[in-house]
Amino acid sequence: MAGERPMSKPLLIVGGTVVDPAAKRDGRFDVLIEDGLIADVHPSLKALDGVDVIDAKGKLVLPGFVDLHVHFRQPGREDKETIETGSQAAARGGFTAVCPMPNTDPVVDHGGAVEWVTHEARRVGLVDVHPIGALTKGQHGQELTDFGELFDAGCAALSDDGKPLINPLLMRRALEYSKVFGRPVIQHAEDPSLSAGGVIHEGVVSTTLGLRGIPAESEATIVARDLALVALTGGWLHVAHVSCAESVELIRHAKRQGAHVTCEVTPHHLALTHEAVEGFRTEAKVNPPLRGDDDRLALIEGLKDGTIDCIATDHAPHTDWEKDADFDTAPFGISGLETAFGVCVTTLIEAGHLSWGQLVQSLSINPSRIAGINGHGLVKGQPANLTLVDPKATWIVDPKQFVSKGTNTPFAGARLSGRVVKTIRQGTVIG
C-alpha cells in the first residue's frame, strides 16, 4: 500500500551508523534516497548539487519501525485520537508503518470500512497504515467476517482485539480458513470468566489495594487452547501483547514443535510491573495488566531467545477525564507510540539485555514480515522508510508535549535514554 510516491529532492544521510540485520549491515554507511527509494547504501557517498544532506554523525540509521498494534479510535471516538493525530504520534515515535485495530465504532469488519481507514490515512499522508480487520462481525464473536473481502481491501491481519475470540469452534474455523490468505489471526488471549471484574494483575498489589485481580492464567489458558488449535489446523496464530511467563513458555514449546505461531510484547510490559499501580495510578491500568517481576524478566528472556517476535505498543489513547476516575471505572490502556523507543532502549539496551541489531529486529524487521509489508529494509531499490535515532540522548517524558491526544502514560516524568531524531517515509521527513 505504498500509495503515490512524492517527487522530492534527493536526500543524503551522511556520517551515521546503519544497523539493519536484514541487510546484514552494522557500521558506518551513508544512505542516498531518490524518488522516495533507497538509491544507494555505501560507506562513503558524495553530496552532489541539489541534494539535501542530513548529518547523522553520532546517530543510528535504522529501518523504519513497524507497530503491529495501535488504536487510532477513528471512526467513533475522535475525542481520544484520530488517524491524523495517531499518525503524527507514530511518526514522532519513529514508526513508518502501523496497524490500527478494528475495535472502532463502527467496527472495521467489512471492506468498505477498511477502505475508509486507508483513504483517511492517505489523506493524512504520514505513516503507512495497514489496518487489521475484525475476525467476527461486529466483534461479537458469533459469525466470521468475510476474510477475503477484508484482505482484498488491504488488511494485514484479522483480530477481535479488545475482546478475545472465545468460541473454540469459531477459532478453529478462523485459523483454518485464514490459511488461504497466508495472513495471521491475532488473538487477544483472555478468558473473560477468569478475568471478570479484574482491573490489575492478581498478586500482592491487588491484595494490598483491595482491587479485583486478573490472574496470569486467564491469558495462559487461552494461549494453550489456541496453540492446540494451531496444531490441529496448521493455521497462523499471532498472540497479541503477551504478558506472563506461562504464555512465553507455552509459545516457546510450540515453536520448538514447529507450530506457526508469532507473538508480540509491549514496551510497558517489558519495563514495568504491577507495582506501578501503587497509589491507584490509573495511568498504569492496562489490559493485559502489568504483572510481576518474574513475568517481566520472562518476557525479556523470550525476546532475547526469539520466542517473542516483536515489540508492539498497543497504543491506547484515552481522554484525561476518563482516566481521572476511580480505578475500577477508568478505562484500560496506555498511550505508547511516543515513548516506545526510549522505553525499549532504557529497558533493553541500557540494561544489557539486547543488542541494537536485536532491537531493530523486534521493532522493525520482524513486525514488517508479520504485517506482510514487502520490501522493508535499507536496501537499494526499496522504499526509503527509515528512522534516525540518537542512542545517547536522555530526555524526560512530558505528556503535555505529546502529539497524540492521549496523554495517559505511566512514564510521565521518567528519564529515558534513546531518542528518535527523524522519521523518514518514502524519502520524506515526517517526524
Binding site: E202, G203, V204, S206, G210, W321, D326
Partner: protein, 328 residues
C-alpha cells in the same frame, strides 16, 4: 476540668500530626497510630458527660459523602463532628448528582466551591479517597473504600483491644472470614502488625486473596487452629450482597465450617475477645450465643467508634489549618 484541657490534652501533641488526610493505616507510622489512639482515648470522656459537646471544631464544615449505604459509620462520624461543634452535611449517593452522570471529581470540585473543610468519604470502589485527596484542598477521611481500607474501623478496634487487654503489642490476633472483600481486615492487618501484634488470617481458600502472607500475616485454613492461640478473634461479615455464587457453596456450608458458636469457642482461650465490625449476620459467621455472650465486645467497638472519629477529625483539621496558613 475546663473544656480546653480536653481539646488539647497534654498527652497529645497535635504538632506530631502532619497529614492533611487519613486515607489508610498502611501509610501511617506506629507513632502516628499511637497518636490517633491517645487522642481518641482523651476524647472518649466527652461522650460520657451530660453535655456531650466541646468547641474544638467550631466553624469547621464536615461533609459526610457516602456513595454506599452505611448506618453505623455515617452516624458515628456525624456524632463525632457534632460533639466537636463542627457543622456537618450528609450527602448520600442516591440524592447526589452522581446519579445524573456527574463524575466524582466534579462533585468534589463543587463541594470545594462551597468551602468545606473535611470530606468524609465512603465509596464502593477502592482508591476513591486517594484520588479525591490528590485533587482536593480539603482534608479527606476514608470511611471505607471498596476492599481497600477502613482506617477508622481498625482504629476503633485497636482502641477496644487496648481498653480491654491493656496492651496491643504481643497479643495474638486472628481475623476470620471473608478476607477477600474486607477493607476492615486490611486496615487491621496494617495497624496490628505495626503495633507489634502477630496476626493470623483464616477463611475459606476462595475468600483468601492472593499472596496474603506477603502482608506479614500467617495464613491458615484450619479454623480450630486459628482460634486456639488467639487473644483476640475478629470475625468478618460474610458479604453476601457483594459476592458471586462461586465463592462459597452456601451460607449453611459457611456456618458449619467457619461459623463461631459456643461449641467452637471451646477451642479458644478463656479470656478471648470476640470482635465484629458489624453489621453481624446472626447464625452465619457468628451465633447469637457468642455475639451476646461474655467474650463479645461488639458494642464497646461501636462506642469507641465515636471517640476515634473525633480524634481523626480533630487531627486532620489541625494539620490542614497549618497547611492553609502556610499557603496564604
Amino acid at each position: 476540668m475546663p473544656d480546653t484541657a480536653v481539646i488539647a490534652p497534654e498527652a497529645v501533641q497535635t504538632a506530631q500530626w502532619t497529614k492533611k488526610d487519613l486515607l489508610g493505616l498502611r501509610e501511617l507510622s506506629a507513632d502516628e497510630i499511637r497518636l490517633l489512639l491517645a487522642t481518641a482515648e482523651s476524647f472518649r470522656e466527652i461522650s460520657l458527660r451530660p453535655i456531650k459537646k466541646v468547641p474544638a471544631l467550631r466553624g469547621k464544615t464536615v461533609v459526610n459523602l457516602f456513595f454506599e449505604p452505611s448506618t453505623r459509620t455515617r452516624t458515628s462520624f456525624e456524632l463525632a463532628a457534632k460533639r466537636l461543634s463542627a457543622d456537618i452535611l450528609n450527602i448520600a449517593a442516591s440524592t447526589s448528582s452522581m446519579t445524573k452522570g456527574e463524575t466524582i471529581l466534579d462533585t468534589i470540585k463543587n463541594l470545594e466551591a462551597l468551602k468545606v473543610d473535611i470530606i468524609v468519604i465512603r465509596h464502593a470502589a477502592a482508591g476513591v479517597p486517594q484520588m479525591i485527596a490528590r485533587h482536593a484542598r480539603a482534608s479527606v477521611i476514608n470511611a471505607g473504600d471498596g476492599a481497600h481500607e477502613h482506617p477508622t474501623q481498625a482504629l476503633l478496634d485497636l482502641l477496644t483491644i487496648q481498653e480491654k487487654k491493656g496492651r496491643i503489642e504481643g497479643l495474638q490476633v486472628t481475623i476470620l472470614g471473608d478476607l477477600a472483600h474486607s477493607r476492615v481486615a486490611r486496615s487491621n492487618i496494617w495497624g496490628l502488625t505495626k503495633l507489634g501484634a502477630p496476626v493470623t488470617v483464616c477463611g475459606p481458600p476462595t475468600l483468601m486473596p492472593a499472596q496474603m502472607e506477603q502482608l506479614g500475616v500467617t495464613v491458615t485454613f484450619d479454623v480450630n487452629e486459628a482460634i486456639r492461640h488467639a487473644d483476640v478473634l475478629m470475625l468478618l461479615r460474610i458479604q453476601h450482597e457483594r459476592q458471586e455464587v462461586t465463592l462459597v457453596p452456601s451460607l449453611r456450608e459457611y456456618r458449619l465450617r467457619y461459623g463461631i458458636d459456643r461449641d467452637r469457642l471451646k477451642f479458644a482461650k478463656p479470656d478471648v475477645l470476640i470482635m465484629h465490625p458489624g453489621p453481624i449476620n446472626r447464625g452465619v459467621e457468628i451465633d447469637s450465643s457468642v455475639a451476646d455472650g461474655p467474650h463479645s465486645v461488639i458494642l464497646d467497638q461501636v462506642t469507641n467508634g465515636v471517640a476515634v472519629r473525633m480524634a481523626a477529625l480533630y487531627l486532620v483539621a489541625g494539620a490542614s489549618n497549618g497547611g492553609g496558613a502556610a499557603d496564604e
